[in-house]
């Protein structure tokens, strides 16, 4: 059950795994997530779906080893298995319901921060395959922290790499890159940002300057991931919504990011951001 058929170390702390879960692989859509438990005593950890192969019956997940549970996940070996993999969970990206003719008229820009590159990949691939124009901006601390660069390059029209220290690509933040592209007339019709909550908050502020429609994917706390516990509740357009069943994607302009960030820190087990000193919003 849930055998790890491939394990790849993307960076010293980020691991990619291809896992057998046939029913899940058949049902998965871009935008959805899953929940894993490394072993019988493990915590339920929500992870985004990075890719799925319906023929092989596998799903690909990417994990960053920061907390105890994510370190356990990364320590699993190829040939070994997860105790549990459940999903797909959450609503698929709203844009997959659009007919291909309409997708062809769209110009997407995806803004991926760190580990957020993983869930951006299946979306970029899906829309690119169907004829939409797809640009991707990936932000990382430095060249060594960059993941899925080659894979992403194959599923988009233009790939923009941003690093904090300039060790690769543009030296600066994804927000600055986005604003630069928009100002130069990139003409995007839809933006999608996935990454740390603070990054998504500032991307929202940048996109607003250009009235660029923006969707974000919220990585809230969860226990069951099926709507039962309510740990994932977020305020969207003044209403309480459950990210696990009504999200994880929401209209960025409606999201109360400050509350979402505060709630995410409730148990101080933030899996994604702990090791990454993000500078967005601090410098200027």
């Amino acid at each position: 059950m849930y055998r790890i058929v491939r394990k790849e170390t993307l960076t010293p702390i980020i691991t990619l795994m291809e896992v057998e879960a046939p029913r899940l692989a058949c049902a998965a859509q871009p935008g959805q997530f899953l929940i894993v438990r490394a072993d019988e005593e493990g915590e339920r950890i929500p992870l985004t779906i990075c890719d799925y192969n319906r023929e092989k019956g596998t799903v690909t997940i990417v994990t960053q080893a920061v907390g105890a549970s994510s370190k356990e996940i990364c320590a699993l070996e190829e040939g070994g298995s997860f105790a549990d993999v459940a999903g797909p969970l959450g609503q698929p990206s709203e844009f997959i319901s659009l007919p291909d003719e309409e997708l062809k008229t769209m110009s997407f820009v995806f803004i991926a921060g760190g580990l957020g590159t993983a869930p951006v990949y299946p979306q970029a691939k899906y829309f690119h395959e169907r004829g939409a124009k797809v640009d991707v901006i990936i932000g990382a601390k430095n060249a060594d922290m960059l993941i899925l660069e080659e894979e992403m390059a194959k599923v988009c029209d233009n790939l923009h790499i941003c690093t904090d220290d300039g060790s690769k690509g543009y030296k600066g933040l994804v927000t600055a890159k986005l604003e630069e592209l928009m100002a130069a007339g990139a003409g995007y019709t839809q933006a999608v940002a996935i990454g740390p909550m603070i990054m998504m908050k500032f991307v929202t502020m940048s996109a607003k300057k250009f009235n660029l429609p923006l969707v974000v994917s919220l990585n809230t706390l969860m226990v069951d991931g099926t709507g039962m516990c309510g740990a994932c509740r977020v305020t969207v357009a003044g209403k309480v919504r459950f990210a696990c069943v009504e999200g994880p994607e929401f209209n960025a302009y409606d999201v109360d990011f400050d509350e979402a960030m505060r709630r995410q820190a409730m148990y101080r087990t933030i899996e994604v951001e702990a090791d990454h000193k993000c500078k967005i919003g601090r410098g200027k």
Binding site: Q32, R37, A86, L89, V223, D224, C229, G230, A231, R262
Partner: protein, 462 residues
Amino acid sequence: MAARIPRVPVREQDPEIRAKNFKEVCLGYSDEEALLEAKRCLNCKKPACMTACPVSVKIPFFIAQVAAGNFAEAAKIIAIDSSLPAICGRVCPQECQCEGSCVMGVKGEPVAIGKLERFVADWSRENNVKFLEKKPFNGKKVAVVGSGPGGLACASDLAKLGYGVTIFEVLHKPGGVLTYGIPEFRLPKDTVVAAEIENVKALGVKIETNVVVGRTITIDDMFDKEGFDAVFIGSGAGLPKFMDIPGENLNGVVSANEFLTRSNLMKAYKEGSRTPIYVGNKVCVVGGGNVAMDAARTALRLGAEVTVVYRRTEKELPARAEEVHHAKEEGIQFRLLTNPVEIVGNEKGWVTGIKCEQMELGEPDASGRRSPVAVPDSHFTIDTDVVIMALGTSPNPLIAQTTPGLERNRKGGIVANEDGVTSREGVFAGGDAVTGAATVILAMGAGKRAAAAIDEYLKNKK
């Protein structure tokens, strides 16, 4: 003569000791105590207790066997109607069902039917007495969604009738509310819940965990791709309700579902569990049902000072009398006729208190309960670190949304009749998914009736 024996009290852990551990509160009857209590039963010709039982356990008949010392025979009689007796004996609201109808209760105390059922079930488990009689496989397959009490009851009845039954469970462990909701000190997981689920599996029922019906597979997939002939939906209650008052998203406000799932399913109450749980020093539980009592008593055992806030009086508390009694014995405070209007927090966004208003009872509402009315200018604040909302649940819309033609009611529950028949052919439903939050035994009753209806449907279907 029978009337002269007083009801045999059941041994319990001392309140002061049990308030600090998660071991079962009630210790159950010994053989001698059970024999003595069973002798109190008058063996009524028209047993009102049986009529009041949602699964119609042949109560006087099993009690007569207990009185005669034939415990295995008693277990056999219960097994005809109930596949989860050790669970029902512990969590059923007997005072408003079997025991509430017991003739002995008119002038004195009713026979302790629940405690006797529990005794028989525990005895048969400890003595390895099993009832696995079933008809040979009839070639037909039934899918059951959810491994809670409704699903387990439906699955075991169908398996006994010869159907090939697979239960699909969304979580990583089977049992539904028996596993994630009801705490260890009221319903031990390994000795009782796991053992009764093993008995269901021993009938040939397969349980597949981690299957999100509506996402991993749909109801239509079950018929079209997986070859099932009928489906029973016992997916339980869904999304926790909140009050829609200011401050509910402060850190430290959790649903009872979240709090109990962390503790029960994820074992956060145990040292070394990787799932965190937070109680602080003071906890307020809002609500007065069994779930509120479970959350309050769990928080107490985790070391907090606990107050239950309820807007009506003690008489209206929907929890079982025994739970309220146990909670009080353990030192839980009750603030009755108290209604929260706002949750207040500090500059860091953490809860510091709960602002309430005093209530008084007004005229009876449609349900016959007197509705509480706010006393003007009666606001006050209770200091607290954590607020647990135990206000019930609203149905999870996932299955209804992903099953074309499955009718939903205004509250979002699946529309089904007494026999579980829904608007889709071959699809049956019962328990909380239909009625909204209710009890273990009502879900079991619904599961059993649906099993009979599924049998009828498949026998007549070409």
